[in-house]
Amino acid sequence: MNRRVRLLMVLAGGAGLAALLVAACLDMPGFGGDRHPYGDRAVHESLARRTANTIASVNFDQRAFDTLGEMTILFGAVLGTVVLLRQTRDERRAAPRPEDVAPPVRRYALAVLPVAVLTGLYVIAHGQLSPGGGFQGGVVAATALHLLYLGADYRALERIRPVGLYEVGDALAASAYLVLGLAGVLAGTAFLANTLLPYGTFNTLTSGGTVPLLNAAIGMEVACAVVVLLARFLDQAVEIEEESGT
């Protein structure tokens, strides 16, 4: 198969794909129109399971299997980063030096850190009620911890951030999601089916069956994953340097 044949095949495939895409676009409902076949069904299903936030119902109930895939992607990406950014044999660790920080900036960091942790956990816990969920809240909580690096220095952050524990937490949270899915199989329905728990009262913390639990698992997974990811980047940028003369 020479170059020309390959090019022709790519062109033919691309033309077919383009034709299909154009055909699909021509048949799409108008922008901002009031006909939403999928949306109506999703809202109906989510209300039937008393989940106030339809997006949470789609993510963690109707398409919880997709979310499992997304979680696995994040898990694998962080794993890859940990392997790629490890300390190699010709590198050494230099102790991070203390940093001068203006007092108002330090006070701000110390005051906002707990508030941001609280907000992150609030976003996770109310994922089935209001905008937000495990991913958003987990990122907010993990970012909050790094205020300690911004408002003080890397040594202060290292004192309250044992990376090993966060790696374990990441794996545990990912397993918790799987176990919650398997619990559905053991209960006699399907993998990740939302039939285990009572659906609760609409618009309260317990509503939505397994949605809040899956949200919590994702929240922990994302928070730990972001902490581990940033730990590798910070190690490389602040601590690890190459041996002199190599």
Binding site: E99, V101, V112, A116, T119, S130, G132, L150
Partner: protein, 150 residues
């Protein structure tokens, strides 16, 4: 469209539009100030949208932005300390204008909401935003005198 969403649209078109221009051109000291102002102006806009759409849950967006926007500016202040020390940004005028705008928007929204927990939430968001932006602006103008070290 109602009055609230119109005000929000004007905020985005005028305020955030100006910061897009500011962050795209000029020396580094102007760009970091524009980045700080972008979150200071977008957050009141999001609050206005929440009021305009009549959805109190949308206030969470502004709350997260009020927390993380200044943190983002601190990231730039911290990791660009060496460059900024050579050419420090000084923008008390723009920063105080943005802070005043946010305060006015929050107070007007509080008056429209009426007393209650929702009003306290608005006030907390406004305090976090203005406080954070003022501290971030202070951090940009020499908040890390040691330059880049640890």
């Amino acid at each position: 469209m109602n009055g609230w969403t119109t005000a929000a649209t004007l905020t985005f078109a005028g305020g955030v539009g100006a910061t897009v221009w500011g962050v795209a051109t000029g020396p580094l000291r102007r760009r970091v100030v524009a980045q700080n102002l972008s979150s200071a102006l977008a957050c009141p806009g999001l609050l206005l949208l929440a009021q305009g759409y009549g959805r109190p849950a949308y206030v969470d967006l502004a709350l997260v932005l009020a927390l993380l926007g200044p943190v983002g500016t601190l990231v730039f202040a911290r990791l660009l300390a060496e460059e900024l020390a050579a050419d420090p940004p000084a923008s008390p005028w723009a920063t105080w204008c943005a802070a005043g705008f946010a305060a006015v928007v929050v107070l007007v929204l509080c008056a429209a909401t009426g007393p209650g927990r929702a009003m306290v939430k608005l006030l907390v968001t406004g305090a976090l935003l203005t406080g954070g932006n003022l501290v971030a602006s202070r951090a940009l103008a020499g908040g890390f005198p040691g330059g880049r070290r640890g």
